[in-house]
Symmetry: C2
Subunit: 243 residues, 2 copies
Amino acid sequence: MAQNIYDDPAFFAAYTQLRRQVIGLDGAPEWPTVRAMLPPRLAGMRVLDLGCGFGWFSRWARQNGAASVLGIDLSENMVARARAMTSDDAIEYRIADLDHLDLDENAFDLAHSSLALHYIVDFDRLTRTIHRALNAGGHFVFTIEHPIFMAPKRPGWSVDSDGRRTWPISDYSREGSRTTDWLRKGVVKYHRTLATTLNTLLRQGFTICQVEEFAPTPAQVAAEPELAAEIERPAFLMVSARR
Amino acid sequence: MAQNIYDDPAFFAAYTQLRRQVIGLDGAPEWPTVRAMLPPRLAGMRVLDLGCGFGWFSRWARQNGAASVLGIDLSENMVARARAMTSDDAIEYRIADLDHLDLDENAFDLAHSSLALHYIVDFDRLTRTIHRALNAGGHFVFTIEHPIFMAPKRPGWSVDSDGRRTWPISDYSREGSRTTDWLRKGVVKYHRTLATTLNTLLRQGFTICQVEEFAPTPAQVAAEPELAAEIERPAFLMVSARR
């Protein structure tokens, strides 16, 4: 199963301070790109939100016409917070491990996941579960940490002899766990190559619709200068697929 | 138009000594992967080979049942050599710049390209041309230098403080020309992100079938130890798509 880092008190305390948790979707620089990859109208859709966190996307989907939303997260802390922030009988939050998830067939029109699937051990099983759970033509839109970002066993920026910032890649084709320090020590994630991610979707019967790699706009860099580094190497991979 | 580096005498002399030019397809470590991405039977197919070089793939396609092959290359040197190596009326070689290529509609069942399209300025135009030139259901299988390999404006291996080999990435989201030294100084290629490559295909109407990133097998590393570096970062991206 995936590591339940979000129920570690120190991690959770730090996580709640992230801009994207404090102000929600508009605090995530990749959100405009993700939004453009979603179906243009959510009206009447049954939505699944995998790794729902505080429920920001779940509530947004309802505000944009979704008929119902099921948000799933491994963390009791996250789901408790999501429930406290939500007042809507058409949104259900459930605690479950995505590595062992079972879902009804043809139960959803849109599956969404934001920065959760890189915690998953068995992406093949989860993809098969999502494919079954979507109706024909259903959408699957997700973001994960980019394999360029994930690959190095000891990730971090480097500065070359001319003072230019680089992101040294290694271990790209060595898939599997990566233990890194983010908000606390020993966070376990799983690196998969881009080919593995896409071919897993294709093998389960998904059609790839769009692939994006986050890079900030000039306006975003002006507002948040530290985002400039993301031009050097993408941290987020975004995929839109259809059953 | 693309730089015609292959008609530079010094470059051409060095190029002809590459293992993949001396012994052909079996000298290319990625060939087993590419072969598995091609349609299982070429019988009767009209094949297009973009950047045909010495015609190794063109001849292989005919030996495997293709009805006809049109090989296209910018380089007079390459096409002259291909013609000298070929004795088959069903193979035509043509000198043309892929950046200004025109092709008949519905004229091919398979378009193939090996390590040529990263020399192209206008991938969008070429992709549209190929899409029109394929019949419905036609295959497009190509390899290019991987965007991880292409991105840095000053590419090269680095060794970190622990002696581990890394490939420092930078400039990933800055698409455009890259001038590097390979066989001679000043070779001009064009970096596109993975998202741009895939979305260009999708926008022109292609369906993505398979994406691969070259990594050597243990047997390949045992035979050619210098291939081990390719495990750290992929040099080749391979895509299979269908109209």
